[in-house]
Amino acid sequence: MQFSIYRYQPESHDEPYMQSFELADDRINDDTMLLGALEMLREQDPTLTFRSSCKEGVCGSDGMNVNGQNVLSCITQVKSLPAPVVIRPMPGLPVIRDLVIDMDLFYRHYESVDPYLQPTQPNQTIDLDHELLQSPQERERLDGSYECILCGCCATSCPSFWWNPDQFHGPAALLAARRFVIDSRDITTRDRLEKLDDVYKTFRCRNIQNCTASCPKGLNPSQAINELKSLMLKKQVD
């Protein structure tokens, strides 16, 4: 099987280039994942560089752009991919080396939505003798928001994020924002919505829905963003 992989080594090359690799077909089984194939290619060339860790799609380290689609390599079957498999770093953020991108900007947007539960007033201490009660129905509303693994597949496939990466929060951060806006235990809903109500932060989303199409966990950031927008609208009317 043929692979064409984006290479960029800042110390030895001024420009990135595509490098061809080949893997014998008999080394690829029905259940071989792309990460496994990349590890075999690293045995041919140990300088080939990419992030990976858990090997099962929960740590979010190994997002990459494969045949034009952002995926996690550890849960993508090689046999599902047409050859040659063209692998590039996820687009829209600076490349550190080969398939490794600098995700600082992505993380900063996540931080900027205050992604933590605020169940009490700032000076109130928490009551460790009691749980905060939440009905199964209230809890069910968090399904689809809390499972995000911050892999960045969504944001780096979003044209609005490519265009305004410094101002538009992007789908992952907004999904996190929605998770705390709708958590029945959080008492800062109004403040959160006010902070998000911004022509760039939230409203740069143009419903392109690449985020939802590329989420390896099957989450729906696009819907979450629309829900935030309608909550803001309701707040205006109230």
């Binding site: 045995e43 560089t49 860790s53 099962e56 550190i96 003798d129 009905s135 199964p136 499972e147």
Partner: protein
């Protein structure tokens, strides 16, 4: 920066902190949160972005006797943990952990963990292996769960709380070694910024090791690529001992041949194990609790079924985990993560198909010896346990020991938050006092670290490149450990393992690298990780060879029985000359009567 400067301290960036925490899994982040909230000058060093730490992969849940679904109390939890440990756990530490459990789980809930809920709105709990009501009388329901993504929920929540608290992070930084001052006291840490390939010296009065486990030692394992035991190897290199390194937990239900974890929650929710005859065989090994026996018992049962020819599949090399009799809605609601894993890696939907499983290396019970304040202990010449000034260890890399010879499911997430917080509290008090230890300008002993860095930068050579590679040596190491130090061991396999390890060590000394760059040099990183793994493999082999009994996860076919007379004691392994010493197990809890060792029946 060119490579020739890696080992030159004049080129290193220098930072000063009160304390440095190494590792950003659940233990490191819980500890960091405590210290950040108390305004200490603290930094966390993590090999990956914090939410990629391996706590993220924990599935089933966290034990606490909340009693939300059936009557429970911490004393029963304590008994179960001691029995589960095959009486090798220290009872003072176990009492401490079980008493803290309910409050610390409620604290996590207030931090925002999206626990699943009961109809009453309280935290959902499920039954797990080895847990009981009334000291073994009936099955308890003690494991608090966020579906089967509890580790993900806890890790992300703790990271979020640290963002709120303003914790300082050094992400994608590899901990090279502990730094000692001229008096031989811990004075900080040298790290390598992976992205830039730049060395940094973090000077600190205290270092907290929270670097997780090392199941990358084995061919099939549930662990992440990052789980290479870096903190454990640093401790050995610093001349300090590791405790109980012969005890590695093989989780009964890994995806056969691949190793990914299928949570014990599958059996907690009603799943059963079947052999080739379709028989639910656990009744033959644990007549009372069957599939919910301790993990060591279930893992051995599966290995025996396969060894005696009752395995499934064309090669008769696995058994089946069967959930097909459960309501599909329960599986989708309570076990969505493992259903996904089976769909992705096996193409099987657990709702209508049993899945092939086999024991897989999962967790290390052994590690850096500590007391229940997280203080690292060594042994004096007189054989007394003495704390190492300025050094703490928490989480899987530590051996408190609350898990003894076998850990109960659901106790690991509990361990990391309880001792993460306890160590931080102890450290807070220590930092509040006057600094009688290492000063910001004390001379440091950097020579061993410079040598190590110099070795791996000189290993890059175009001419004398060896045929061998870091990847090949790691593969051979994992194969040797799997074959000779798996679920069952003997004198013969362990003796052979010691010889294999010596040969692998010699290969590692000679291997050269092909990657000369500074930026994100994975090959160099993997070489240093492999050094760590190799050191831990040796500690394991020598500790296992010496322990001539079977206890918990350490099953010696040549010594099939537990021998309390000779072996009710912790092993301590020192790197120098592979020296082994021992220390007594604590059988005296803090406030209640101790539990005397008894035969272990489930």
């Amino acid at each position: 920066m060119s490579l020739a400067e890696l080992d030159n301290p004049a080129q290193w960036d220098i930072y000063h902190f009160d304390a440095v925490i190494v590792g950003a899994g659940g233990a490191g982040l819980r500890s960091a949160l405590q210290l950040a909230q108390s305004d200490q000058n603290v930094a966390v060093v993590s090999k990956v972005f914090p939410t990629r730490s391996h706590t993220v992969a924990a599935q089933g849940g966290i034990n606490a006797a909340l009693g939300n679904l059936s009557e429970d109390n911490w004393h029963w939890h304590m008994y179960d943990t001691i029995k589960g440990s095959d009486y090798l756990g220290d009872q003072d530490a176990i009492e401490f952990m079980c008493r803290e459990a309910a409050e610390i789980v409620r604290e996590l809930e207030h931090f925002g963990v999206p626990f699943s809920r009961t109809d009453a709105g309280t935290i959902y709990q499920r039954p797990f292996g080895g847990q009981s009501q009334r000291f073994g009388k009936s099955q308890a329901t003690r494991t608090c769960a966020a579906a089967d993504r509890t580790g993900h929920a806890i890790l992300h929540t703790l990271y979020q709380q640290n963002l709120k608290a303003g914790t300082t992070f050094f992400n994608e930084a590899f901990a090279v070694d502990l730094v000692k001052d001229a008096q031989g006291e811990v004075a900080g840490l040298v790290i390598l910024d992976i992205a830039r390939g730049k060395v940094q010296l973090l000077r600190a009065r205290s270092v907290v090791l929270a670097t997780g486990g090392a199941c990358q030692l084995f061919e099939t394992n549930t662990n992440a690529k990052i789980n290479t035991g870096d903190g454990l190897a640093m401790v050995l290199r610093a001349g300090l001992p590791l405790q109980d390194m012969e005890f590695w937990q093989f989780h009964p239900t890994g995806v056969a041949g691949k190793g990914m974890l299928l949570s014990e929650a599958a059996r907690g929710e009603g799943g059963v194990l079947r052999n080739a005859e379709g028989r639910a065989f656990m009744v033959d090994y644990a007549p009372n609790v069957k599939d919910l026996a301790s993990r060591d018992v279930v893992a051995r049962a599966i290995a025996v079924e396969v060894k005696e020819g009752r395995g499934c599949g064309p090669n008769k090399d696995h058994v089946l985990l069967d959930l097909t009799h459960l309501d599909a809605e329960v599986i989708k609601q309570r076990l969505p993560g493992i259903r996904d894993i089976a769909l992705t890696f096996l193409g099987l939907d657990m709702c209508d198909s049993p899945v092939p499983v086999y024991p897989t290396a999962h967790y290390m019970m052994g590690g850096i010896p500590t007391d229940f304040h997280g203080r690292v202990l060594t042994q004096s010449v007189q054989g007394e346990a003495t704390p190492v000034a300025g050094l703490y260890a928490i989480g899987e890399c530590a051996c408190v020991s609350v898990h003894g010879a076998n850990r109960l499911g659901g106790n690991s997430l509990l361990d990391i938050v309880v001792f993460g917080r306890a160590a931080a509290r102890h450290l807070q008090a220590a930092l509040a006092g006057p600094n009688t230890r290492t000063q910001a300008d004390s001379p440091l002993d950097l020579a061993p670290i410079q040598q190590r860095l110099a070795h791996w930068q000189q290993a890059v050579s175009d001419e004398a490149r060896s045929e061998d590679s870091v990847a090949a040596i790691r593969r051979d190491l994992q194969a040797a450990m799997q074959q000779d130090c798996g679920v069952f061991r003997t004198e013969e396999t362990l003796t052979q393992l010691c010889a294999s390890l010596a040969a692998l060590q010699a290969r590692l000394k000679k291997v050269s690298l092909q990657d000369a760059s500074a930026a994100f040099n994975l090959e160099r990183l993997e070489a240093m990780e492999l050094e760590n793994l190799m050191t831990l493999a040796t500690a394991t082999a020598y500790s296992a060879l010496a322990r001539k009994e079977s206890r918990g996860a350490h099953s010696r076919m040549d010594y099939p029985d537990r021998d309390d007379q000779a072996w009710l004691k912790h092993s301590l392994y020192f790197l120098q000359d592979h020296r082994l010493t021992y220390k007594p197990v604590n059988l005296t809890p803090l406030t209640v009567d101790g539990f005397e060792p008894k035969a272990r029946v489930y």
